[in-house]
Every structure is written in C-alpha cells, then in structure tokens.
Amino acid sequence: MKDLKNIRDQFPVLNQKINGYDLVYFDNGATSQKPLSVIESISNYYKASNANIHRGVHTLSRTATELFEKARKTVADHFKVKNDQQIIFTAGTTDSINLVVNGLSKNYLQKGDEIILSSYEHHSNILAWQLWAEENGGKLKVIPLLEDQSLDYSKLEELINQKTKLIAIAHVSNTLGVITDLEKIKVLAKKNNIAVLVDGAQSAPHMPVDLEKLDVDFFVCSAHKMYGPTGIGVLYLSEKWLKDLQVSKPGGGTIKTVTFEKTEYAENALRFEPGTPHIAGAIGFAAAIDFMNAVGMQTIFEHEHELVQYAQQKMSEIPEVIVYGKSNNKAGVISFNVKNNHPFDVGTLMDKYGIAVRTGHHCTQPLMQCLNIQGTVRISFAIYNTKSEVDFFIEKLKKVITMLN
C-alpha cells in the first residue's frame, strides 16, 4: 500500500470538521472527492488555455483542442482501447445510456423487441429503456436475485428469445456492491447475437477495467465518481457501434457537411458530441485518471476490498445490523440496516458525528421492492479512506443503535 497519509493530503476537502468531528467521507458511491491535481488542471485550463475547440485557427484554440483530444487518448489508454475514437465524451453515465437507447431505437430496436436488465439496476439504466419500451410495445425482462443478493444467472437463458436485442447491466451494483459476472452474461449474449451494455459507473472507480478484454458493445461511466469533475463521462462504443450507432442528438461539431436538404455526419467520436463540450471537464477527467494510475487500479481495488472485509467483519459482530449483498465478490460498497430502525434515523445521527453516509433507495427502487425494504444505509469507500475511519464509524454506529433503541 502506498503512503496513505500522502494520498489524503492531496484532498483538501477531507481536512475539515463537521459538527466538531473530523469528516469521515463514506459517500464515494454518490461522488468521490477530487485531488489537487484535478482541481488545478481545471483552474489552469481556464487560466491559461481556455478557447473553443476544433476548427479554430488561433493558437489558444489549437492548445485547447490538443488538451481535449489528449484527454480522450488518456481515457482510451486507461481502458485499453486502441482506437480513441471509440471513447465519446458525454455528460455522464445517465447521458451515455440515453445516447445509446435513442440511437438504437432508430434502426436496431424494433417494435415488440425485448431488453434484459438485472434486479439491481440504477434508475438511470432502467428509465430510458422503459420509455423506449412504452413507446414501442417493447418489453423489459429482469434477471432475478439469489438468496445472497447476487444474480441468478441460471435464469438468464430462459429470459432470452428471438426478440431479445440487448442486455443492459451494472458491472457493480451501486446499492449492494456486488460485482456482476459479466463472463456468464457475455457467453449467452454472443451465442444469441445480443448486444451488451455495461453500466460501469461503480466499477470504473474501484477496479481495473480492460475494455479490450471485456469486449462488450457499450460501456458507460461518470468521471465524478472517479476523482474527476461532475458533468462529464464516457460512452465507449465497440468498433461495430462506432459505425452503426445512429445520431440521436445532432448539433454543431458533429458533421462533415451540412445543406438544408441533408447532413453528412462525421465518422468519428465527434458525431456524438454536439455543441461545445465540457472541455475543462475532459481535462480534469484526464488528470483524475492520471491520479488513479499513479496509485494503481489494482491497489485501489485491494485497499477498498480490505476496508469492506474489515468493516463487514466488525458489523457482523453487531447483532442489530443486517448487511445486504452477502456475496464476497464485492467492490467498495456496503449496504445495511439496523433492525427495527429507519435508515434515515441512522444517517441523520451519523452525520452528527461527522460521518457522511447515504440513506434511502439509492435510485434502485425496484431492488428495494425485491428485498422488501424501504431503503438502506450505504457506506462506500475510496482510496483515501482508512481503517481508523472504519473503527470510528463502528464505534459511533454502536452508539447510534443505543440512542435509537
């Protein structure tokens, strides 16, 4: 493990008191904090290089364009994607998914087609598909959960039929932390010629992701959960879909030629990036990726995994605590409840101790319905979290349980 103290020092926001206690930030699943290198890259860009990109003849515009395109290359390299044009900058995971659904609905998805989702999808990976289905007589089918709240892959094959066109699935559940076994999904998808979209919002921040090896059709994620800025994310398209995905959000910058009669769209990533993009965001995102790689994705995964194991062990010693997502194959997230107590009460009192947790349904209401609960308390880790923070959390959790009971 690298020097953690040194890592924490790079996050100025962590160095503050909340209600008289040292801030313990355990809400990384919602958004992570940003290191100085990211903050400075954005501020330096505005101080020294701000201009609109592409087609500018002046020097600043060229610099800004180079920085933006270099950011694309950084993201591509990070995910082991050889052709950086397969990396589209979007506003984030939600935006990426919408771009895919709307593009596919133009020529790939037909009336009455079927999409397969998992029980633990985030609303962002449900609603756009649902809207498409409602408008087109389509159908959403759901992979059920097992007792341990991992997916029942044995049921997948029966969900597939002639009309199944796509499987859209979270790489890691944002509520449970459970890692999806994508190999099992891919085998059946390949065999039946079904496209696969992987929602990597919760995997990209926590574990190494090699998109060449993963070999799926679409992969989406958000920079703000990866130590980067809000408002920017990725849509990765396979070689095939870089050619075949239809433009659904047209606008300036996406074209080769335009007449009032007909437009010829660009053949590369620009086709999907209408209007002035989030240039500073892309640059900040690249800095965030540099930060993660300086630490090492494997190191990040192992560190967070250790924290999860450690915290779960301690939580299992508290009889009032129920942990969801019992599978051991987890990344960075623990969801739990205190028996007979509302997650909101636990979260409110934790905040009084300076501990930031998330409570509620975590944008996974259908999962809450499967588990037959109103919500959970969720803690989620990042590289800067420590065992002593977990100790403090456990101590205060016990206190909160006494206060509430």
């Binding site: 909101f344 009084k352 109103q374 206060m403």
Partner: protein
C-alpha cells in the same frame, strides 16, 4: 395556549441540554416514541406526504373553529420533529397557523431539519399543515 407560548415552552425544555446534541436528540427521539399521533385508519396512501425518505402522514380536522392535527412518521427522529410541530400548531385557529413563523426550530438548534436537502418531509409537512389551515379559512 397560544402558538408563541408553546414555542417558548419548547425552547425552555431544550435549553437544559445546552450544546449537548446527543442529549437533545435523545429527547427528540423520546418525543417521537411517546406519541401515537394518528389513527391507524388515517395512515393511508393519500395521507402520505410524498417525496421524502421518511414517510409522513398528516390528518387535519376543523372543530370549533380550531384545526386539530394528527400525524405520524416511520423514522423516529422525523416523528420527534412531527410531534413538536403538532404540539405547536394543533388546536389553533387557522389564521394563526398560516401566520406562524416557527422560529423555535432554529432557536433549539434543529434548523437542519428544515433544509430542503434533508429529504425528511418536515418542510413538506409544515407546508401541508399551512395549506390545510388556509383551506379551512376559505
């Protein structure tokens, strides 16, 4: 008792805790626990104040020109806050309820529950109480 008088009473009740937020919250939790606030039959889907993490139910009735509130919540801290609001606003004239500023919440150091991001439904509940009172005036 007038609204301001009840507010004053609550302020005094909380004063003994000083800066000890744990004691303050324990009191709030006790308040929440001690009050069965609403008849089970009123805990219906329509009476839920929507969009909050914690579910809050409210029932308003006009009797002898006064509004009688009963309410409940499924989170105990929210229920404590609900109990305070009911104590202050119930059995008051609709005109006074509409005008009430409820500054005691700030004074006793529970203002965070009125922040729009708290998602605990308290702000929505107060708005609903005032809207119901206003409807009784008309």
């Amino acid at each position: 008792m007038k609204i301001e008088e009840t507010e004053k009473e609550i302020i005094e009740e909380f004063e003994i805790f000083g800066d000890d937020w744990e004691a303050k919250y324990e009191h709030l939790i006790d308040l929440g626990r001690s009050l069965p606030l609403i008849k089970e039959e009123f805990k219906t889907e329509e009476r839920i104040i929507k969009g909050c993490q914690s579910r809050v139910w409210l029932n308003s009735e006009l009797r002898d020109s006064k509004v009688f509130f009963t309410a409940d919540a499924d989170a105990i801290i929210t229920k404590g806050m609900v109990a305070l609001m009911v104590r202050v606003l119930s059995e008051q004239k609709p005109e006074d309820i509409v005008k009430a500023k409820l500054e005691f919440v700030d004074t006793v150091g529970l203002k965070e529950h009125l922040s729009p991001t708290r998602a605990n439904g308290l702000v929505s509940m107060i708005n609903k109480m005032k809207a119901d009172a206003l409807a009784f005036i008309k």
